[in-house]
Amino acid sequence: MPETIENVAIKVSVNGKPRSLNVEPRMLLVEFLREQLDLTGTHVGCDTTYCGACTVLMNGAAVKSCTMFAVQADGAEITTVEGLESAGQLHPIQKAFGDAYGLQCGYCTPGLMLSASQLLSGNKQPSEKDIRKAIAGNTCRCTGYQNIFKAIELAAQNMKEG
């Protein structure tokens, strides 16, 4: 587009930290997180709303951050994979993905963990079917998913015993 477009001021809470920044109106949320905030744990896989590698939580709901503009997150709370751990301790979901060998190359893992996070926040004892449905929008090309199911089951168990 030839004419210059004014940046827009937005206020977003990212992993509990308030952030005020000026962004181009058509900057994608994933670009904002990766390039402006240096939160590179959120990945870009397909860039066509398919693979779910860019999944983050917006006000607790899993969304594909490549399919939203940063300006649309104005006023929202965003959680990325960097926001899962607290005080240097891995989140039970992160720990379970390690313990159950729920990852190989790891590219899809942040997105999967955030989809799992939305599932487990509303369902303490998910069935295998619930898990399959919750992560149907996250593509993994290494694992064949079996250990991912096991990791999420393990995380659910550990969080319940908490």
């Binding site: 058509r26 709303t49 398919y50 709901a61 899993a62 399919t67 503009f69 149907a136 929008g137």
Partner: protein, 278 residues
């Protein structure tokens, strides 16, 4: 605003189709008008025997709504669209206003008495869904109008419906889909409405297939006749999702299964249905 900007403006609802289309440069709107910050556009109300959905009601909200669950075909649709992330953003109004031939909502809502409330600065008008969907990606909305509300009449107690869509994987559009709504009296079908999705430029109503069921006992012969008519009414294109022949066969199988489930639901049975994918 829309009347000033004209057709260089696009309305942004959930963005789960428009943003990918913009990235692929299939759409390059000069102006984007984001509807998401308008409050009071996302709701599900039950009034006078009808469900009213605000245009920006997300698929996930319909999926978890007790009101919408009373019409099982609505739940079949909402719970099966794409994946959890897309259902958290995508909206019922956006789906109808986009009128993608492979979209789920238009096909499902075609089997119910559905009206669309269109708003502009000049006032509002109510358009029945079959008149609202004009063609592929084309609706009755004029450039200065927005879709405000979707009004769905709750079917009678003896009525049951089912929506089945076959997809290659969760996030993609279905290869073919079928929605069936039957009103039964004992084992006789009083009313039958069928809509086929993804096998034409708009959802297709196979009238002969409906006729094959209406007033009949739903024997295997009657159902087979309806399935044959539905296959004949489908007008699919061969593409990366499958050949035209394959889709015609698939849509027949989906119609058959949807009829069987609709009959059970009309009798008050709980049958769980989800989109089918590997």
């Amino acid at each position: 605003m829309l009347s000033q900007l004209g057709d260089e403006a696009k309305l942004l609802a959930g963005g789960q189709s428009l943003i990918p289309l913009m990235k692929l440069r299939f759409a390059s709107p000069k102006h984007l008008v984001d509807l998401n910050f308008i409050s009071g556009t996302s709701y599900i109300k039950e009034e006078d025997g009808a469900l009213r959905f605000g245009a920006l009601t997300r698929h996930a909200e319909v999926e978890s709504s007790a009101g919408a669950a009373k019409v099982p075909i609505l739940h079949d649709c909402a719970a099966g669209i794409a994946d959890a992330q897309v259902r958290n953003r995508g909206t019922i109004g956006g789906s109808l206003a986009e009128a993608d031939p492979s979209g789920d909502w238009a096909t499902v809502l075609m089997t119910l008495e559905t009206e669309v409330r269109c708003l502009s600065t000049k006032g509002e008008r109510i358009v029945p869904l079959p008149e609202f969907i004009k063609d592929a990606y084309t609706t009755a909305l004029s450039p200065d109008e927005v879709l405000g509300e979707v009004i769905v009449k709750v079917p009678r107690k003896a009525s049951g419906g089912a929506y089945l869509a076959f997809k290659r994987s969760a996030p993609v559009y279905p290869t073919a889909s079928a929605a069936v709504q039957l009103t039964m009296e004992g084992d006789v079908c009083k009313e039958a409405v069928i809509a086929l999705g993804c096998v034409g430029l708009t959802p297709i109503r196979p009238k002969e297939a409906e006729f094959a069921l209406r007033g009949k006992q739903l024997t295997d012969t009657a159902i087979s006749a309806a399935v044959e008519s539905a296959r004949g009414a489908a007008d699919p294109q061969s593409d990366m999702r499958g050949s035209a022949d394959y889709k015609r066969t698939l849509v027949g199988a989906l119609v058959k299964r949807a009829i069987e489930i609709a009959v059970q639901r009309a009798a008050g049975k709980q049958v769980e249905v989800s989109h089918i994918y590997a």
